[in-house]
Amino acid sequence: MKRKKRIATVSLAGCFGCHMSLLDMDEHILELMELAEFDRSPLTDFKTFSRRCDIGVIEGGCCNEENVHTLQEFRKHCDVLVAVGQCAIMGGLPVMRNAIMHSEDPLRECLEEAYSSSAKVYNPSNQIPNDAALPLLLDKVYTCAEVVKIDYQIPGCPPTGEVLWATLAALIKGEPAPQEYHMIKYD
């Protein structure tokens, strides 16, 4: 009997919408469970890789050092890496902090707005959280392809469950991911 393919998934700087879409493939999820098993994933709650995986599914880009470390771990442990959703591909909404703050130092302005300068914030110490346990924020949000080699990208915010199923089903069979016209949507 052929062994099941192993799939790992993770949400970096994402909203888990792409994972919701993964669950939205309806009855195909039963077929998927016949063909594959999930290793490290929020769906299994495994925090580390137990074995090498065939397919890694990445949601979200990199906004802190933990995201970069996780993404590099995925590259190291997965044969094929699939970036899913606009956040992983183009940065998505988190990338707005790179430029749309209209500031020369957008990260600082973003943190100050969140923790001190905004009228709605009560913060007598006026400190921005800097505990050692918190992952260090990067200077800007990076797309997955800017950090590691990505094999396939599925755009969309989020891509539909059918598109995710079609892609995973093809990759499990060892075929290239289908990229038909109706499957490419940026929103």
Binding site: A83, I89, A99, I100, S103, Q153, D187
Partner: protein, 252 residues
């Protein structure tokens, strides 16, 4: 008296009238040449170069290149489509194009062109993520220059149709942007009724008509079901289906 003449596009004979550009003749014949800065009714300016074709082996902008008898034009070839794919990609990388939050999504010609050209893979270009202003001073109109692709359609519409000259290019090179002929849009004589502010003119979500966003639901938007250029290709008497580029070409 003018006489029609013929030239070939991808081996197909196209009949043109004197004075027509390659794009005009191809449009009439139902052969779609992708374009962003050109739109029917405005003077072509050949700035976006998405309509690049090869004429007798040399690249030219089809929207400004006059059709000539006997020339050989390459339009739908892997090399020419590759040029266009790179050009459209660079437009995405040069501005801040956040499709999920853009109210032009689904009717955006830049996005539709990316779909048509099958752009789904990552590229080696860096995202420049420039810091660009938003002018929301006008009561009915806003300008989000993060999405501007400098096609100049608003400039030509305001100058040639409205006779107002509200927009103009400002700056050079990577700092080039669209400026208004006043301190801001509210101080200009821009009106929501101007042709330059209509939905047909701005191909992206740069010119925003306030209180009108997201008027069409997902699934019923302009390019949700039919690719950009389908109405031109539908004129082709022998074509059964609208041609779409195979995105798998992109992976090679």
């Amino acid at each position: 008296m003018s006489t029609e003449f013929e030239f070939s596009v991808d081996g197909e004979t196209i009949v043109a009238k004197p004075g027509q550009t390659i794009m005009d003749a191809c449009d009439d014949a139902g052969v779609y040449i992708p374009r962003l800065c050109d739109v029917e009714g405005l003077v072509p300016q050949g700035s976006c170069r998405v309509c690049t074709v090869k004429v007798n082996g040399r690249t030219a902008a089809a929207c400004t290149q006059p059709a000539e008898p006997g020339v050989t034009v390459e339009n739908d070839t892997p090399q020419v489509q590759g040029y266009r794919r790179d050009l459209v990609r660079m437009l995405f990388h040069e501005g801040n194009h956040l499709c999920p939050i853009c109210e032009a999504s689904g009717r955006c010609e830049l996005q539709a062109m990316a779909y048509r050209l099958g752009i789904s893979q990552d590229s080696l270009y860096p995202y420049l993520q420039p810091v660009r202003p938003v002018d929301a001073s006008h009561p009915d109109i806003a300008l989000d220059t993060n999405r501007c692709i400098l096609c100049g359609r608003c400039i030509r519409a305001s100058r040639d149709v409205d006779g107002k000259n509200i927009f103009e290019y400002v700056g050079r090179g990577i700092h080039k942007r669209i400026g208004v002929n006043a301190e801001n849009l509210a101080a200009s004589d821009a009106s929501i009724d101007d042709y330059a502010m209509s939905l047909e003119v701005c191909p992206v979500g740069c010119i925003i008509r306030k209180r009108e966003g997201f008027f069409a639901p997902i699934g019923q938007r302009q390019f949700d079901n039919k690719p950009i250029g389908w109405e031109i290709e539908a004129r082709h008497k022998n074509r059964i289906a609208v041609h779409q580029i195979d995105p798998s070409e992109e992976q090679s």
